[in-house]
Symmetry: C2
Subunit: 234 residues, 2 copies
């Protein structure tokens, strides 16, 4: 009997934003796996740290973050092999995922490699998108509005088109793309409609109007834009 | 000293998908408010039921669900007045919100009326979007994909345009709009790419390929569509 692969959403960073279910499964886990940058600390592990049993076996999934050949498929191959060995031996494996496992996460690359052979269960988590809305206390989308979630990594032309077409939008993975995003929003007269949030839910959380945002943004930052489509919210 | 207004996300329905923070705040709350259909049971209250203290005061926010003049602004006026009275008397008020308070929820109409006068805190929750992805075990969006969240209430022309422009999409509030959505997806040859999910995370959860979905969908149902933009996920 093989074990089950669990993909567990941890939420945006505050350990108290883990779900009760995530907390229970992590507390009881004998094998815990998590992504980590090469040689660096794992953000996912830091969220769950207090829940991990002291005698749990830990599998670090080392992902090179700066390789040109994104998304580092060799690293996922190696991690999947290691996890498959544990599952085949009958152990359940709990994979810790920042935010939600199936929302812009690296878990889906493990899932694609393993779900054909092993039982899987996904525990959804609070995403950074709603955590950022909570941080800046702005409704994300109401009534009949379409909400568009855009990676800041898109090129300028694509960004312009997507932002123009959107009712309300969340721009993720801002980081080094901040100057480009600022420029596109300014050209569409949306700077005043935009909020900048970094490290949502963590002690170092920053939440500012975009016009007051710093010059440099961390990778875990986001810009939320509404166009005022709901007259009842003004 | 006035009390604080808390907007608490409860997640999609399974009480174990509440966050630890939501659970703590609800357990300790002396005044709990929640939306309910006129004369009917409150879904939000049902999610949180086991956490509500037996001696907590409960404020039902009765929202007429079928009024033409959406979104029932008179009901929110009345509820805001009642909650303002409690806050002014110094009590904190915890408002229970299905999913996330600022993501297509009715809480934002209370928030718009009260946040200028009272301290507020928002606790984000797991949305139905990621809960549906977990239910059908499909990645929502990866890498550089744009994720578009579309209310099924849009008219057919708008739906066609939005679906055509999207990379990956979640169509919410399916309900009686299912035939229209089916037709639009079929016309774009996307039926095979679409999953149907109802009552995500609850005991009566349904998760099927759209081609096998029932004729009638409940309000709490969703369709997820991916267009296969990430070659590493096939």
């Amino acid at each position: 009997m093989s074990g089950t692969l669990f993909g567990i959403g941890l939420g945006p960073g505050d350990p108290e934003l883990m779900t009760l279910k995530a907390h229970r499964l992590i507390r009881n886990a004998k094998i815990v796996a998590y992504p980590a940058p090469l040689g660096g600390d794992s953000f996912a592990r830091s969220i769950a740290a207090d829940a991990i049993a002291p005698d749990a076996r830990e599998i670090r999934i080392e992902i090179p973050m700066d390789v040109a050949r994104y998304p580092a498929q060799d690293a996922y191959d190696a991690a999947a092999t290691q996890i498959a060995t544990a599952l085949s031996a009958g152990g359940d494996v709990v994979v810790l995922c920042e935010g939600d496992p199936l929302f812009y996460g690296s878990f889906m690359y493990l899932f694609a490699r393993l779900s054909g052979r092993f039982q899987t269960e996904i525990v959804p988590g609070v995403t950074s998108v709603t955590a950022c809305a909570a941080a800046c206390k702005r409704p994300l989308s109401a009534r009949n509005e379409v909400l568009t979630i855009i990676p800041g990594t898109l090129d300028e032309g694509e960004l312009i088109a997507r932002i123009e077409a959107a009712d309300a939008l969340a721009i993720m993975k801002v980081g080094r793309h901040l100057p480009k995003i600022r420029k596109v929003l300014a050209a569409q007269s949306l700077t005043e409609n935009a909020a900048y949030i970094a490290h949502a839910s963590l002690p170092n959380q920053v939440s500012l109007p975009l016009s007051q945002a710093p010059e440099k943004a961390p990778y875990f930052s986001m810009i939320l834009v509404t166009k005022g489509g709901d007259p009842w919210l003004s």
